[in-house]
Amino acid sequence: MLILAAVIFALVAVLVIYGIVRYRARDGAALPTQIFGSRKAEITWTVIPIVIVTVLFVFTVRTMAFVDAPREPADQPDVTITGHQWWWEARYANGAVAVQEIHIPVGRRLLARIEAADVIHDFWVPQLARKMDAVPGRSGYIWLEANAPGTYEGRCSEFCGMQHAWMHFTVIAEPEPQFSAWLQRQAEPPREPEAGLPVVGGRLFREEKCTDCHAVSATDTQPRKGPPLAHIAGRKLLGGDIPNSPANLARWTVNPQSIKPGNRMPNQRLSNADTLALTAYLESLR
């Protein structure tokens, strides 16, 4: 494609540059011969491009058939990925839930259903799959597959409002055994803390109405505004782009607008002690 474009551009450039160098007006030059056209040349430069685009079209259709998932697959998807303003949620067939960090097995392709909860987003992991618009009220399907283990960067590719720029996520490809273990763990509710500060934090979490927007159990599938927080301590990044450290978690809990202006979580009025307790509780959710 690139080579084809380069060749065509070179052809035009040579034609133009030859024209302006060779036929530059010289002093006292006679009037050039008045040529009105040439049927032969005109037909040539109509037919050859038709042939080129026909070949291009054949390759296009073949590649589409090769890379694209069926539009209405007979099988249930392995994972349903939903775009929210401005985070991604993945629900696996076994009930496991992941936010922002989507795990896949190496060497086995997953059928992913792409959906949206609010506005249009676009799920794009350049190294792994085609991009697919996430349109509210519709489903799109893609194959998600990695040939080598690793962490792959993904981002939203359709303008979706104020934090479109930071609607990043990662896809983590790992060998099948690790993947299965992870999948199993994610499907279970996190263990509630038994003693100390996390218990205090857990009580605050419920009293401060955090649960209005956040679920803490994978089995709690009632739709809410905010991302589920089950297993949040296991995530590497917060909000898709800052490291998940206790300090950052505390910052996000109290003052999320300073990190991602415009996100759906308002700043919270919490005392330092409450913040510490809440952070300790969240840190215990593995």
Binding site: F9, L15, S38, V119, G137, R155, S157
Partner: protein, 546 residues
């Protein structure tokens, strides 16, 4: 001296005369000046964006402001700059080129212009009402719905575009009737200057494309103001419906913004090559082919939506096919120079640069017709690079060429060639620095419409180059403005035909008298003034069937 002189015409100067004018030349000039004003405004918005993107993680603009600025930049450049300036050139030139004294409906012409002013005012007054529109120039639902864009910016956007669209449709009707009924004797359809021909085709394109946008805008307004549900999925509406409506307008729109530019290039290259256009009939017919095909390619803006492979293949085929008639034109223009005697005025420099830049834009467009490539590159900076090569490298370069070519006719004075060359090189260098590197940013995975970006390898450097280029480009545009002002005051007097050209407008005075011509020359070919100057070698004897 006796004080008895009575003006034969209504006065042509003074504020009131300009406001109430029904003279196509004055209305054309008003269109061009209004577009130039908005070009500077849209350019400032571009500068603000490039400043914010110069380095990763900058906080010069808040995300809220950035979203408003890029929406306003796109909307301004398309609806308040490119469309009105092309219409303005058409309004000024078409009657002169066909030997008429005015447009068919002078008062309608005046109304169109004031609808433009009203539309521009409505769009910009939104800044004072709580916030400008912020959903991008194509305003995808549901982001553009009340739930997600809560201030009234989107309402102003929709109302403004309704007014602008109505004015544009009125202009299109005016062009069609003018060209159909007011041609000089002897000027058959096959002898139309190509700029006039392309304006005619373009007007038909407008008549069938703009109503789709107007309909969609009314639906969006009813969603936002009357609790309608056309595009609201929560109540059974369809966001994809908006996309179909928008792009069935939006893709012909792309050609609406380039066909008149093709027409300008088709006038300028032959005159400065001292040869007639190579293959008039192919150039003219390929314009019809483009117009026809342009209604059948809109889904290539939606390849990333799950619409089914067969459906996408059909639109991939049509989108590739439309490259063919476009290619025909490029080869014809290049062949016009071959064997000619090429004079490098600033106008011609811009026309030659147009050929090369537009070819790049066309080829990157072909990449998007190739669906699997689109599935990676759509909505990245590759798209931003692509459409700026088409709209700036294409249309804007043609407009610079046209300005240098027709300014003498409009003002009676030549634009300064030294400033012109300075203008040309700054714009060419600045433009390529700004936008060529954006191809690479897209290939590296940078999405468009992001208010900032992470510090990934190469991203900061490429963006910095782009910002530097934008500064040079912006200064180049200011040199153009300075040239306009300086040449208007001090430029060499042009005379009626400074380029030794061939179409009828050069038979009129510079600037033309109120009724354009004292007598219209006889038209027996496509180059009536050539026939007058070369009675030994008239075109009507040679043109034949070509």
């Amino acid at each position: 001296m006796s004080g008895l002189a009575i003006p034969a015409d209504p006065p042509r100067s003074g504020v009131l005369a300009w406001i109430s004018t029904v003279d196509h030349k004055q209305i054309g000039i008003l269109y061009m000046l209004t577009s130039l004003f908005f070009f500077l405004v849209g350019g400032l918005e571009a500068m603000a964006m490039r400043a914010q993107l110069a380095l990763p993680n900058l906080k010069f603009l808040s995300p809220e402001t950035y979203d408003q600025i890029f929406t306003m930049h796109g909307t301004t450049m398309i609806f308040l700059v490119v469309m009105p300036v092309l219409i303005g050139f058409g309004i000024y030139l078409v009657p002169l080129m066909i030997g008429a004294s005015d447009m068919a409906f002078p008062r309608l012409n005046n109304l169109s212009y004031w609808l433009l002013v009203a539309g521009g005012f409505l769009l910009y007054v939104s800044f004072l009402t709580g916030g400008a529109p912020d959903a991008g120039w194509f305003s995808y639902a549901p982001l553009s719905e009340k739930t997600y864009s809560t201030h009234s910016g989107m309402d102003y956007w929709a109302l403004s575009l309704l007014l602008l669209g109505t004015g544009t449709i009125a202009s299109a009707v005016n062009f069609v009737v003018t060209i159909a009924t007011m041609r000089a004797p002897g000027m058959t359809i096959r002898r139309l200057p190509l700029f006039v021909w392309m304006t005619l085709v373009n007007s038909v394109l407008i008549l069938f494309a703009l109503p789709a946008l107007n309909a969609a805008l009314v639906m969006l307004l009813s969603d936002r103001l009357l609790a309608g549900h056309f595009f609201d999925p929560a109540h059974g509406g369809s966001p994809v419906l908006w996309q179909h409506y928008f792009w069935i307008f939006g893709h012909p729109e792309v050609y609406i913004m380039i066909l008149p530019a093709f027409g300008m290039i088709s006038e300028i290259i032959p005159v400065f090559s001292r040869k007639p256009i190579f293959g008039y009939r192919f150039v003219a017919t390929s314009t019809l082919a483009i117009a026809f095909l342009s209604y059948g390619v809109w889904v290539h803006h939606m390849f990333a939506v799950s619409l089914g492979r067969l459906f996408l293949s059909v639109f991939a085929a049509s989108s590739m096919l439309i490259a063919v008639p476009t290619g025909v034109k490029i080869f014809s223009w290049a062949a016009t120079m071959l064997g000619g005697s090429v004079r490098f005025t600033t106008a011609m420099l811009f026309a030659v640069a147009f050929l090369l830049e537009f070819t790049i834009g066309g080829l990157s467009g072909l990449a998007f017709a190739t669906v699997p490539v689109d599935w990676q590159l759509t909505d990245t900076y590759f798209v931003v690079a692509h459409f700026h090569f088409v709209l700036f490298g294409g249309t804007a370069f043609a407009l610079f060429a046209a300005s240098y070519y027709w300014f003498p006719k409009i003002s009676g004075r030549m634009l300064n060639e030294t400033l012109g060359r300075c203008n040309f090189w700054m714009v060419v260098i600045g433009f390529n620095m700004t936008f060529f590197v954006q191809h690479f940013l897209g290939l590296l995975g940078m999405p468009r419409r992001v208010y900032t970006y992470p510090d990934l390898p190469g991203w900061g450097a490429l963006n910095m180059i782009s910002t530097f280029g934008a500064v040079i480009l912006g200064l180049g545009a200011l040199v153009f403005c300075a040239n306009l002002v300086a040449s208007l005051a001090f430029g060499a007097v042009a005379g009626s035909d400074p380029w030794d050209a061939w179409t009828l407008e050069w038979a009129a005075d510079s600037p033309p008298r109120a009724d354009n011509f004292e007598t219209v020359p006889v038209v027996r070919s496509r180059r009536p003034l050539w026939d007058l100057k070369h009675p030994e070698l008239p075109d009507w004897a040679a043109e034949g069937g070509s």
